[in-house]
Point group: C2
Chain length 557, copies 2
């Protein structure tokens, strides 16, 4: 894959050459959204072109740039418009609406592409001397403002793009461990591992545009984390270059030698230093894969099934339960502009017959492993799901989901062109609180959107699914679609985000299950970790970065 | 169970009323050890009686004691000889040889028994005002000097015995979580949980004499950790009272809200504060239990079987592979003073026939769960073990081990009475390094014992087993028996410990897999964590305990 910057969108998701393919169903989609959101007409809201973007003056002097080029090479120190704008923001809704409007007050003054830990150490020296902020940049897919180019009182900002550090250094086949440079993209890593018969199995929605280091720095979780583990779990060790020197964590399994520094590195979001190499736990490449669906009449029934599957330790790769609104929305979305097929009509009739009702909840079950292991799991899951009233709907919905699992972020760009906002947020909680948190948060999202939206009747689409699960609880992933406030979309978004985040914390959820903190969740960190917890993390930061050069303004309030 | 202090040994292991039962085989044991260790006669080395123990002067003033009694109650502030000596040390070899010889330079000046977090907060205030060291004391079973009463420059030492904080506060049956006060002993916790149909499943060898808070503080691992997880894994949240306030960690499963503070608490060994309450992940009480053995002609073959079982994710509670020396020693030890039975003779002959050889390695496999799950695992394990040349030897060795699994520490006291030293140490490493580390460490132990022992021909007994295992590696647990140097046993032990610990770190092992750091492993922490890692941990400590009152001299160099 060619990750040259000019192949990638600078103010939208993914490949420049790729858009969400509506297969000519655009008009149907717009009509559907208009009717759902209660607006008469969707406006055209094109993005500002790159050449028209305002570009803040460069705070780096010529001699500083020359010095940087001496440390790296001429071509790996960029100060041109494209590189500076490309690296200004991540890919959150908040980021994209600002990029599309040309609403920028800060961009990196320089973008550097180091190729080794030694070069990174030299860069931290350079930044210390010149009091510059350093922004570690992997795939740039943060959706929480994790890579915003904020100087925060420093003399300028250098964004450090790590994607040239992308070699796989070692595969220890006996220990099922691989060590790679942290700037490697998901597909690059998997291609290398799979050639040897292994997989990391970490496939977040951002898989194609995120890096190993970013996954660990943000404590991410892939869609199949039930089997392959979230980043904090598959992460076995790292090298971290900080302004005060280099940290090499152990890679031995479990140790009682004091607190586990690996869990300080996982989730550090670049504020302690650059993750330059990481060791991760592998799995043999699965030889069997089985994704299939069940329908439940109630979200609670489906959640109970997931809980039971987890608590019985059934070997499962993914359990994804959409609530009734999401199930309905996705089925509507899929059928837009298509005549209802004989099969789908028959399915509806059948559902009615078996009593699942008009707004069922779909559970997608993903199994990966060997034919033997997936067969055993399939039997166990059928027993649990059907025992709880689940209706098996076969492999088609699973296949459909699997084939398009990386595509949804492209749709957001299409919606933004027509003044339709879409954002997601996620949390996790214990099983005994999942139903409560689901209800509270979806209501709060709807209430906040209505309160802060002056377009049409401001009616939102709010939906959720359980995306990751554990013996003791699960994550809830919310998606909401709303009429964008064209005058003040940032303020609209902020007001909604603030109220919903408050509701999450007040009701026993974590501020993020797998997106991270960045700038967007920073204000809720004290609520989550406590004053003392924040003091502990700040003390760690100060011990390795006394001048606060690393990714200022992220993670810590 | 009655945990009154007078029911427990103050200078040895466990219940006062219990000794290792040799069933009249003492003479055989002594003869066996004499011959193995190459010494003519085992000396009698009785312990100094409590009334003859030197007791350092109490550094607490009368008014301080009165003030403490005002904070708690009269009877929960102890300054008598028994309480002070009882709480002076843990239960390591190093501790016991000093206690038995009356070789004490420091003991706690007072022992307090708080009953609430509020009382603990008051105690930290008191200690801050009077500049006293606070030693968190759970079951007192540390084998790494984790609870030594060291003032380290402070004006005195208060040992804080937490065992009156022993209530189970909540069982969340839906989330399989329990919250309990941290001073609860293993049997108290399990009794409560099992009444409700659950288990934590954490059964370290110290189970009867260790507490929930201690397990987490030391990052311990139970013998069945393959199924139930080590402390760092089953630990879902805690309240920690520090000199700067109280920290409440979240209990939600997985979170991407920055570094996981729970992994700073796990392994903190009391240097950040007192763990007062902890939430842990439960399992339904197993309805089936199956422990059985296999023999292998080589340690490597057995280790490969464990690795394959782990990497195939077979549901197993315990995998314990003794090396040839340990297998031989245990079989000799069991048969001391017994005529070789017809059955055992037949077994030897059979082993010879199938080619396992004279010094096989025994693998004990423990399965827990339901009849269905243990049956499935039994089939999978038989396939893997027998495919690798393992000879099944049935359930008897497993049953034997299970029935006596908490008894071995009592034997140490008997050996100490006859001038025979016995100590253990443990580490973990990746699979690709397990064989190398096993060889290097056992050789180093033997070499160091020979070098530092002037008794008899100084020939040691050195043996090891794999005690805990993971997909990426395993722990190695070493036991060594040697003629105690009667003139300078502490120096002898220190010299051996130093050389072996160096060898562990130099050869890619962690300084501890589940015993912890305490004072004994502190000097190797910089080697393991790096200068920067230690700086990070010290920064955390300073942020919550700026005067260094909490457990001084432990964990951090």
């Amino acid at each position: 894959m060619d990750y040259s910057r000019e192949k990638l969108k600078w103010n939208g998701w993914g490949w420049l050459a790729q858009d969400f393919d509506l297969h000519g169903r655009e008009e149907g989609l717009w009509a559907f959204l208009q009717s759902q959101l209660g607006i008469d007409d969707l406006p055209n809201t094109p993005a500002v072109a790159m050449e028209d973007m305002p570009l803040p003056e460069n705070r780096l002097s010529r001699s500083q740039i020359a010095e940087l080029r001496g440390l790296l090479t001429e071509d790996r120190v960029c100060v041109d418009r494209y590189e500076r704008l490309f690296h200004a923001f991540g890919k959150s809704y908040h980021d994209l609406i600002r990029l599309r409007r040309g609403d920028l007050d800060e961009v990196p003054d320089g973008v550097v592409y180091p190729e080794s830990s030694d070069e990174l150490a030299a860069l931290t020296q350079f930044a210390t001397t010149h009091h510059l902020a350093l922004i570690p940049y992997g795939g740039g897919s943060s959706v929480v403002g994790g890579i915003e180019a904020r100087a925060g009182g420093r003399a300028g900002v250098l964004t450090v793009d790590l994607t040239r550090m992308n070699r796989v250094l070692d595969i220890d086949e006996e220990s099922l461990l691989a060590t790679a440079e942290a700037g490697i993209y998901g597909p690059q890593l998997e291609e290398h591992l799979q050639k040897h018969g292994y997989t990391l199995g970490h496939y977040p929605q951002s898989f194609q545009f995120s890096t190993l280091g970013g996954w660990i720095a943000a404590r991410g979780a892939g869609q199949q984390s039930n089997r392959y583990g979230s980043a904090a779990k598959f992460f076995a060790g790292a090298t971290v270059v900080t302004p005060c020197g280099t940290l090499h964590s152990i890679t031995t399994p479990n140790s009682a030698a004091g607190p586990d520094l690996r869990h300080l590195i996982a989730g550090s979001e670049g504020v302690f230093g650059f993750i330059t190499e990481a060791t991760v736990r592998l799995h043999p490449l699965p030889t069997a894969r089985d994704y299939r669906g069940f329908l439940f009449s109630e979200f609670k029934a489906g959640a109970d099934v997931i809980r039971q599957i987890m608590q019985e330790h059934v070997d499962v790769a993914m359990l994804r339960l959409s609530d009734a609104d999401e199930t309905w929305f996705l089925s509507q979305f899929k059928s837009i502009g298509k005549p209802a097929s004989w099969a789908s009509k028959a399915t509806s009739a059948a559902l009615d017959l078996v009593g699942v009702g008009e707004k069922p909840c779909v559970l997608l079950v993903g199994l990966e492993g060997t034919t033997t292991s997936t067969s055993a799991s399939r039997v166990a899951i059928a027993r649990i799901a059907m025992g709880a009233g689940g209706i098996p709907i076969g492999a088609k919905p699973g296949k459909g989901w699997y084939g398009t699992r990386f595509d949804m972020p492209y749709l957001r760009d299409a919606l933004l062109e027509r003044g339709v906002g879409v954002d997601t947020l996620e949390t996790s909680t214990t099983w005994s609180n999942v139903q409560h948190l689901h209800q509270v948060v979806r209501k709060q999202i709807a209430t906040s959107i209505r309160r802060h939206t002056r377009v049409g009747n401001g009616e939102p689409i709010v939906m959720a699914h359980i995306s990751h699960s554990y013996t003791d609880g699960a994550s809830l992933y919310f998606t909401f679609i709303f009429p964008m406030s064209l005058q003040a979309p940032v303020e609209q978004w902020r007001a909604i985000k603030r109220e919903v985040s408050d509701a999450i914390l007040e009701n026993g959820g974590t501020i993020s299950h797998h997106h991270g903190v960045g700038t967007d969740h920073r204000d809720w960190m004290t609520g989550e970790k406590g004053e003392l917890g924040i003091a502990m993390l700040k003390a760690v930061r100060d011990s390795v970065d006394p001048h606060g050069l690393m990714n200022p303004g992220k993670l810590l309030p």
